[in-house]
């Protein structure tokens, strides 16, 4: 594929708002996970909640979009000068030439959960104030981003479970390659709700302690929330501004099981191989792998196998889920941006909460953060339905 530049990006997780706060926490091995106090789902677990996620309601013309998911998205859109960069792009290309391809797994379903608790006693009707299209429907997020950033190009929402916001890069890259738009907003948001907390609880894959990716005694996932966005466009002649490039994307399907990955890591390996092939790089040219690594028994083992088969015990890799928890549909963009920060700042991340790496694992798993020259990173995202996506990001030459 022709490389595309992430010419501006922004994010929010339980680690904080924006790139600097995120990098500080990653460097200091400070986890955002804390005992769960999310009132709609009082389960004994740890979550990575966004501070003050509920404190900034959307008002005025955006009031119809008001829900936790769009509020968290708004926090990311307002940080890191993202809005200004998009405004400049709007001047360069025209509002109708910038697409919006963002994703979420549950959008604002928390709003519908609340509406169901307030159903009319006689008719069963939902409260009149409930706005389905602008909160619950998965397109609500794309609609909100398009409205907030005053864009008029093509748009749709992607929802492929936990691979969602890695896959949005593929949707956007294709649209730009086809000339449907000149630039695109990619990314997305997923936020705490009863559906996912009780859902993962029912699958018995949620840990009661902070998640410990790749640990011999890992006991399942911690759920987190967050949002991230990037402005994706063709690299300009001013290479200084285009410091991180999207070089390759690999998508694959497991063809195995709805909620459990292929134990041999078949789909995971295919995704990484396709990303490498699309970018034209060999495994040895990759400096760091940000793993999916959710800390489930089966998932981590399958990913270790796929990584070890392709990269041996050479390439440093780690999961950052111990910092943020599993941000589900948002994990693709958040970890792609962690990877961008790795390239820009010369750091590879350790794995907070992981104590002893599973002795059966063969990949080169990092426990401590370290300084290193990082030119190219692979970021893995794997989801329900066997949806896999690997992104290959690199430094502009």
């Amino acid at each position: 594929m022709r490389p595309l530049a992430l010419s501006r990006f922004s994010l929010v997780t339980s680690l904080g708002v924006g790139g600097e706060a995120t990098l500080r926490a990653l460097r200091q091995a400070r986890s955002g996970l804390a005992p769960n106090t999310f009132a709609p789902a009082p389960l004994a677990t740890y979550v990575g909640a966004v501070t003050d996620a509920d404190e900034h309601p959307l008002v005025g013309e955006e009031a119809g979009f008001d829900c936790r998911n769009n509020r968290v998205a708004a926090i990311a859109l307002e940080a890191n000068g993202f809005g200004d960069a998009v405004a400049a792009a709007r001047e360069r290309y025209g509002a109708d030439r910038i697409g919006v391809f963002v994703g979420t797994s549950t959008a604002g379903i928390l709003q519908t959960e609340s509406a169901y608790r307030y159903r009319d006693g006689d008719t069963g009707a939902l409260p009149a104030s409930f706005d389905y299209a602008r909160t619950h429907n998965i397109y609500s997020l794309a609609d909100f981003v398009r409205t907030r950033l005053r864009l008029a190009g093509p748009a749709h929402a992607v929802s492929s479970a936990c691979a969602t916001t890695a896959k949005v890069f593929a949707n956007a890259a294709r649209m730009i390659a086809a000339g449907v738009c000149d630039a695109a907003i990619v990314g997305g948001a997923d936020t705490l709700c009863g559906t996912t907390l009780y859902g993962f609880h029912s699958l018995e894959v949620m840990s009661e302690e902070p998640c410990r990716p790749f640990d011999a005694e890992r006991r399942g996932i911690s759920i987190g929330e967050g949002a991230g966005f990037a402005l994706l466009e063709r690299p300009s002649l001013h290479a200084d501004e285009d410091r991180v490039l999207l070089l390759g994307i690999g998508e694959s399907s497991d063809a195995y099981h709805m909620s459990s990955p292929h134990p041999d890591g078949v789909g995971a390996r295919l995704a990484m191989e396709r990303a490498l092939a699309g970018a034209g790089f060999a495994p040895k040219e990759i400096d760091y792998i940000n793993l999916h690594g959710t800390a489930t028994l089966v998932g981590d083992a399958a990913e270790d196998r796929a990584v070890a088969e392709l990269f041996g015990a050479v390439t440093p890799c780690s999961s950052t889920k111990g910092y943020t928890g599993h941000t589900l549909g948002a994990s693709g963009i958040i970890e792609a941006l962690f990877s961008a920060l790795s390239i820009l700042n010369g750091v590879v991340y350790g794995s907070v909460h992981t104590r002893h790496v599973d002795p059966q694992f063969r990949s080169r798993y990092l426990l401590e953060s370290a300084s290193a020259r990082v030119d190219r990173v692979i970021s893995n995202s794997f989801g329900f339905g066997g949806a896999n996506c690997s992104l290959l990001l690199g430094r502009a030459a």
Binding site: S160, V180, Y198, G199, D254, G383, G385
Partner: protein
């Protein structure tokens, strides 16, 4: 941008497959109401028991379109487009979460994800090919068609579009009035192949003239009552084997103009389609 259609499928109440529905869609025969029928699922029995209506619908559509295209689904990328997942499954989860117990069924939870049909499709067809699951509220069909056409051209490969929605139960139906089950599938290729029978010239335009509609009231009710049903003007044009331009609803400010032109590189193709249309 220009792509070619190799296979097409349709399922809705009274529309049981493309060959059976062509004359109705073309306006030659009258529409007769009948319950939507879905063929047996190709999934293993253990998986089949656990699937939701949208999964059964999407699988039936994919199988029909791939059979018509005579193409191997295991080797073909796919785009699954739906307004918002399985309404009945989501309703059951919301009811459970509003109860004191708040206990969810793990199967129901994994069926609630938007890409459940794509996941089951990959299992049923043993496909490791890339797949994307998208949604765009009422603009979902046009968004799916745009995504599939772009993918066929940029990646230079066949792409299947499967667009589907099942009816929403109350109280969700009041806020998201999707009525009947409706679905369609198209297998698109970037260049003319022996099996392609129509050319689509797809263009994004500023929203201007009105969207294409259906003359037959029952079909028009499917068009407005289901985001996947927004495909009907395109299906009707394909069914007529006619050259025509349809205007499809897309997101506010934009619409999708699709110019259809029959192509006949496949001399063996027409007789078989007529046989099928006659129910032979």
């Amino acid at each position: 941008m220009r792509v070619f259609v190799e296979g097409v499928a349709v399922r809705a109440p009274g529309l049981g497959g493309w060959p059976e529905s062509r004359a109705v869609l073309a306006g030659i025969e009258a529409y007769r109401a009948a319950p939507a029928e879905l063929p047996a699922s190709p999934l293993p029995p253990a998986e089949r028991r656990r699937t939701a209506p949208t999964v059964k619908l999407a699988l039936a559509l994919g199988i029909e379109a791939f059979a018509a295209a005579e193409r191997d689904p295991a080797e073909t990328a796919s785009v699954f487009a739906s307004s918002g997942g399985d309404g009945e499954t989501i309703h059951q989860i919301l009811v459970a979460l509003a109860s004191d117990e708040r206990h969810l069924s793990p199967t129901r939870f994994h069926n609630s994800v938007h890409n459940a049909p794509a996941g089951y499709w990959s299992i049923a067809t043993r496909s490791h090919a890339p797949s994307t699951s998208i949604g765009c509220h009422d603009a979902t069909f046009a968004a799916g068609l745009l995504e599939a056409a772009v993918q066929a051209l940029v990646e230079d490969r066949a792409v299947a579009l499967v667009a589907y929605d099942a009816g929403y139960p109350e109280p969700l139906h009041s806020v998201r009035p999707i009525d009947a089950l409706f679905g369609t599938a198209l297998v698109l290729v970037p260049s003319m192949s022996p099996r392609s029978f129509a050319q689509l010239e797809i263009e994004l335009r500023p929203q201007g003239s009105d969207f294409s509609t259906m003359a037959e009231p029952a079909l028009e009710s499917f068009r407005v009552g289901s985001p996947a049903g927004r495909s009907l003007p395109l299906l009707a044009t394909l069914a007529r084997d006619a050259a025509d331009t349809v205007m499809l609803e897309y997101i506010p400010g934009l619409m999708l103009a699709v110019s259809v032109e029959p192509v006949s590189s496949a001399p063996a193709r027409m007789p078989r389609r007529q046989d099928a249309a006659a129910g032979v």
